[in-house]
């Protein structure tokens, strides 16, 4: 009886172990052999990664995954999403459970240097901010002397607040909540004078309120949070694919190539557009991709502006303005290197 149980257990173990991914091969080879990209996203953040009523993921981080999948396969649906949370995200990447982590992750020195991961280019420049009720009559974070501030426990959120308030010679009282819903309710019910988080997150908290017009995000940005996709360390080909897929999205916006006009742009006289879309040269093959990889990304996912507007922009529930996430020639931080 027990012998049989042991054999069943052994069979189950082999079944689990057969899901092993052979990492000796490069990530690109592994992904191609599998026929699907596996992308780590958040467990549900409005605008960045959220499953709809049909369980289909949508959002800005999700579109980054789809762009990479399209670069490799020419098909935005050849991607499986794995939900990761703050605790498990890096481990999932290190252990090979996911090929790329696209989950509102801030690029920092210590993460890059010590976690066995490499970052792609920042896809979204965020920063920690503060939100208050309009009725408080405060126009600047510097007026918040002695305020109670709600936050989620984070490695840096409280630290940034302490630094900011000390630098300005002001005091504040920190109120920490483990659960986002509790945190938001505490703010809306007046338990705290202000709530602090990344600005994109503040916008989503505001969007969730009964009357978003009653709350205002203060102008100060008290930390830098460049959110970037991450890959495993020491696979520069794979990192190139991720980086250049992101830059392709930005360059397409810069060149005015959109999802709707990409077919006409194939006839464009601009040599850079020709190189990007694979009309001349074969940039894609240098990365081990199809030469039409750029065309495919724009055709199926759109350019950066389209991605932003669709998921985060003024027309969405988040209603974010582009802010620093504008092209360099319009005063923003997006500066895709040249495609040549």
């Amino acid at each position: 009886m027990f012998g049989k149980a042991c054999r069943v257990a052994a069979a189950v173990m082999t079944l689990g172990a057969s899901v092993v991914t052979a990492q000796a091969a490069s990530t690109l080879e592994t992904v191609k052999a599998r026929g699907k990209l596996i992308c780590g996203v958040s467990m549900g953040t409005t605008g960045f990664a959220l499953a709809d009523a049909q369980g289909k993921f949508a959002g800005f981080d999700v579109d980054v995954c789809r762009a990479i999948a399209t670069a490799v396969f020419g098909d935005p649906n050849k991607v499986d999403f794995v939900m990761t949370n703050i605790n498990t995200r890096f481990q999932a990447l290190q252990s090979g459970e996911i090929d790329v982590l696209s989950r509102q992750t801030t690029l920092t020195f210590s993460r890059d240097a010590s976690l066995g991961i490499d970052f792609g280019p920042a896809v979204f420049y965020d920063g920690q901010g503060l939100m208050v009720a309009k009725s408080l009559g405060v126009n600047s974070a510097k007026d918040l002397d002695g305020a109670a501030i709600c936050t989620l426990p984070g490695t840096t959120t409280a630290q940034n607040l302490a630094d900011f308030f000390r630098a300005n010679g002001k005091k504040f009282e920190l109120v920490v909540f483990e659960n986002p819903d509790e945190n938001n309710n505490a703010f809306f019910s007046g338990r705290c004078d202000a709530v602090s988080s990344d600005r994109s997150d503040l916008a989503s908290i505001r969007a969730a309120s009964k009357s978003p017009g009653d709350y205002v995000i203060l102008p100060e940005t008290i930390s830098k949070e460049p959110l970037a996709p991450a890959v495993r360390q020491n696979d520069s080909n794979w990192r190139d694919i991720v980086s250049w897929s992101v830059w392709m999205l930005m360059a397409a916006e810069e060149k005015g190539v959109t999802q709707t006009n990409v077919d006409e742009q194939l006839k464009s006289e601009d040599p850079e557009i020709q190189r990007m879309l694979g009309v001349t040269d074969e940039l894609g093959t240098m990365l081990g991709l199809d030469k039409a990889w750029g065309y495919n990304i724009i055709k199926h996912v759109g350019n950066y502006a389209e991605m932003f507007d669709r998921n985060l922009g003024e027309q969405t529930a988040l209603g974010l303005s582009r802010g620093p996430n504008t092209l360099w020639n319009a005063g923003g931080l997006l500066y895709p290197p040249p495609f040549r």
């Binding site: 689990g16 172990a17 990492q23 252990s95 459970e97």
Partner: protein, 357 residues
Amino acid sequence: MAEARNVTRRPAHRNSALKVYFGTPGNTVVTLVCVAILAFAAKAAISWLLINAVFSGTPEDCKAGAGACWPYLAAKLRYMLFGIYPFDEQWRPFMATILFVVAMAISGIPRLWGRPLVVAWAALLPVLFLLMSGGTLGLAHVPTSQWGGLPLSFMLTFVGLICALPLGILLALARLSNLPAIRVLAITFIELVRGVPLISVLFMASVMLPLFMPDGMTFDKLLRAQVAIILFAAAYIAEIVRAGLQALPRGQTEAAQALGLHFWQYTYLITVPQALKTVIPPLVSLFIGFFQDTTLVVIVGLLDFLNTVRTAMRDPNWQGIAVLEGYLFAAVVYFVFSAIMGAYSRYLEKRFRVGHD
């Protein structure tokens, strides 16, 4: 037993009931206040749940209404139940859940307990796994990372407990063993596992374990969580079963030995069945607790039922409109299944008492 029942029944007289509630001025006041509070709560609940509720329409209709927003549940029901499992394939987790619940119900009939049932379960579990996972027989492959919702909660709880029960019984026997090596091993395992919270066991299995594995070797995330739950539950079951074994009169074992039965024979036929009978109530409490504790797997990136309900609320179309409705739905589902388990435990107790007292 029978006498005790009569004693409690005797004062259940109509007059004495009135006396209890309205006998003294103080009692009358307390009764009236309680009735008023109950009536007020019931009125508020009914008006929120039914009278002011919005039964069909869009998020805008709900925003305008003052009551519960039932279209939200309708729109999000399948996501809450099955998570991100591919929409067109959701009949598979549905069928698997139905099959599983039916199988559990049938297994609950004591007359059917025996070897055939064990064989049937050994056959059923792979079938359910195939149904969920696919990859053969024309079923599309669905990786375990896309499983979620109620089937996931059921699987983690009940597959976990089904596997943990025999393991726990073995551990209990090992802890009572006369062989020091086995006893020490069992004590070490049980105390180690009981000494840490479930969260940290899950965390070890999901975060630490893969780092110790050879490069590029990963076990399925769900399997890791499932094994963690089995080991954790086994330690608690072991202690409950040990209590049952120690409550048995020594004479039972001695008589069995005198009849010439060897250890496994009297363990299987005499001691363990009696011990299990005694510990039904704490065992079922543990099961109910585990059914609710599985929701902790969210920290290792798995979406169980409660957390599909939670993430469903973040849909921007419905954000800020429906919050209580989702939690209420989750509460009802958890309550129904917990109540069924509780009722079943009372049934078993009653059944096994028969012919005893």
